[in-house]
Amino acid sequence: MSKRIDINNLNVYYGEFLAVEDVSLSIEPKSITAFIGPSGCGKSTFLRTLNRMHEVIPGARVEGEVLIDGVNLYGDNVDPVTVRRHVGMVFQRPNPFPTMSIAENVLAGYRLNNKRVSRSDADDLVEESLRGANLWNEVKDRLDRPGSSLSGGQQQRLCIARAIAIKPDVLLMDEPCSALDPISTLAIEDLMAELKDQYTIVIVTHNMQQAARVSDRTAFFNIAGTGKPGKLIEMNETPVMFSTPSEKATEDYISGRFG
């Protein structure tokens, strides 16, 4: 289920504005890859190109290749809707559908592919996904309550359950803990460590301790100044990045000597 991603010479644009310039990197299957860097360096923008969510914004486009197990996501015969069914995403702020119950939220994506789901299959999938997201024990008695009745951390785990219910190849997480308290953050980090046995996980984070704790490999993005495009500075095994980075900019950022 987990797949390898290779990005070759990717340029990301908003209209005429070049937001991320010439990124080439590889993401290993069954591992957690973290993107770190200062605000505005384009790491979230770059993440959104991996499931073609970037182009939801009017005028946004990319040049270059994103290969998932060798298939170019930006090929001529590729439908972005299908891409997103293979590459799941969890957002910065928890966004369960407020009009749906907890169970319906989990099933929302699955129902897009399977119009008719038997009652028992649906129940099994809800339990499996919620267990997978470490949420089952907390919500099993109130599956018909609205998703918005949960706490922020629970809502975020509900969103993860919703994402893994469709069995994606890759799971993208865009600062998934930045709106959460430390205890909920820990719960999500534990969950990520379990999920990486099955999924390729890419996480964008502002929190360098988090990147150091959870990720196997880390990529550092930086920006030369306002209006300049973001660039990939370097990428390596996480312990190497946080002890002996090869670039001065990485060392400055990691040690906090960066504006």
Binding site: V81, R84, R162
Partner: protein, 332 residues
């Protein structure tokens, strides 16, 4: 700062007392409270007027009323209450036709503007729709009589020929539809009249859909339409109901266009393609008012009271629909 302390260093309560802006805050509070109260007073005044003026006609025996008021004919078995009954029925029939036609079209236009059209086209289309709202109802009436009625007649004949076995489309006894001046035509014109308000309100609601929810749907592989079903409609549900009720309110009260188009009658007939079957409260009042004597005016006001009550009921129904499943409303 204060005159009452002996040592200037020691703070007193008055240092933490009133501040500039407190008076303005109080004034504004009373202004807004007053504005709120004004609504209640106006509503109460209207209700009181309707009740007080309608009462003489309601209280009077139907025999006596029939002798004093020219348009109530007891010899044809008509009483005031029966006429009101026919008119409520006619009003509802025509308004429901208008809503059934206008709501889907309006929501379609609103969705196109908010989620499908390129920005520039969306803006232009929005202005056009707003312009529709600016056309006076008498112009709609003229257009209805001069253009729509003759245009629709062959379609009505077709419906009557092939679907005439359904009571709604039943033709007159002769089988021929000679005139298009029927409830259906009035309903179509009203539909066009209420289209802008339903469109405008729905469009605003759809544009308010949180990007967060739209992206949640798209990111799990929803198509545009699936995203609209998952995120936009549930979020905009109460807004769409509100928009429809605003449209219904206008349809219920519309006078001029109906008066000009419909060939009026007083029955409980479902046949919307037959002339001389239906009339609305507002159009009936406008038609009879110039010739009415004083008790006649009282009778007409009783009909106005009925319209007031229907509108109130419709709005309460809408509120109730919106308030069900409040937990799931998305407002939190």
């Amino acid at each position: 700062m204060t005159q009452s302390t002996s040592s200037p260093e020691a703070p007193t309560e008055s240092d933490y007392g009133t501040h500039p802006g407190a008076a303005a805050n109080r004034v504004f509070r009373w202004l807004s409270t007053g504005a709120g109260a004004l609504i209640l007073i106006t509503l109460a005044a209207v209700a009181t007027f309707l009740l007080a003026e309608a009462w003489p006609a309601i209280a009077m025996g139907s025999e006596e009323l029939g002798e004093t008021v020219s348009f109530i004919k007891p010899d044809q078995g008509q009483s005031l209450m029966e006429i009101i009954g026919y008119l409520i029925f006619g009003t509802l029939v025509i308004s429901v036709i208008a809503l059934l036609i206008a709501t889907p079209v309006a929501i379609g236009i609103a969705l196109f503007i908010s989620h499908y059209a390129p920005r520039r086209l969306a803006q232009g289309l929005g202005y056009m729709i707003d312009l529709l709202a600016a056309v006076p109802s008498v112009v709609y009436g003229l257009w209805g009589v001069a253009v729509l009625v003759p245009f629709m007649q062959p379609f009505y004949q077709f419906l009557a020929d092939y679907l005439g076995f359904i009571p709604i489309f039943a033709p007159p006894e002769s089988g021929e539809i000679f005139t298009g001046r029927v409830a259906m035509s009035a309903g179509i014109v009203l539909a066009i009249m209420i289209l802008p308000i339903i469109t405008a309100v729905s469009r605003e609601v759809f544009l308010q859909t949180p990007t967060l929810h739209e992206e949640a749907a798209l990111a799990m592989g929803a198509t545009r339409w699936e995203m609209i079903k998952m995120a936009v409609f549930p979020f905009g549900r109460s807004g769409m109901i509100g928009a429809t009720m605003l449209g219904l309110g206008r349809a219920l009260g519309e006078t001029m266009a109906v008066l000009m188009i419909i060939s009026p009658g007083l029955t409980f007939s479902a046949a919307v393609l037959q002339p001389n079957q239906h009339n609305t409260i507002a159009a009936y009042i406008a038609l009879q008012f110039p010739e009415a004597n004083s008790m006649g005016v009282n009778s007409l006001i009783a009909m106005g009271l009925a319209l007031f009550v229907i509108t109130l009921l419709v709005n309460m129904l809408a509120r109730w629909i919106v308030s069900r499943r409040k937990d799931f409303s998305g407002a939190n």
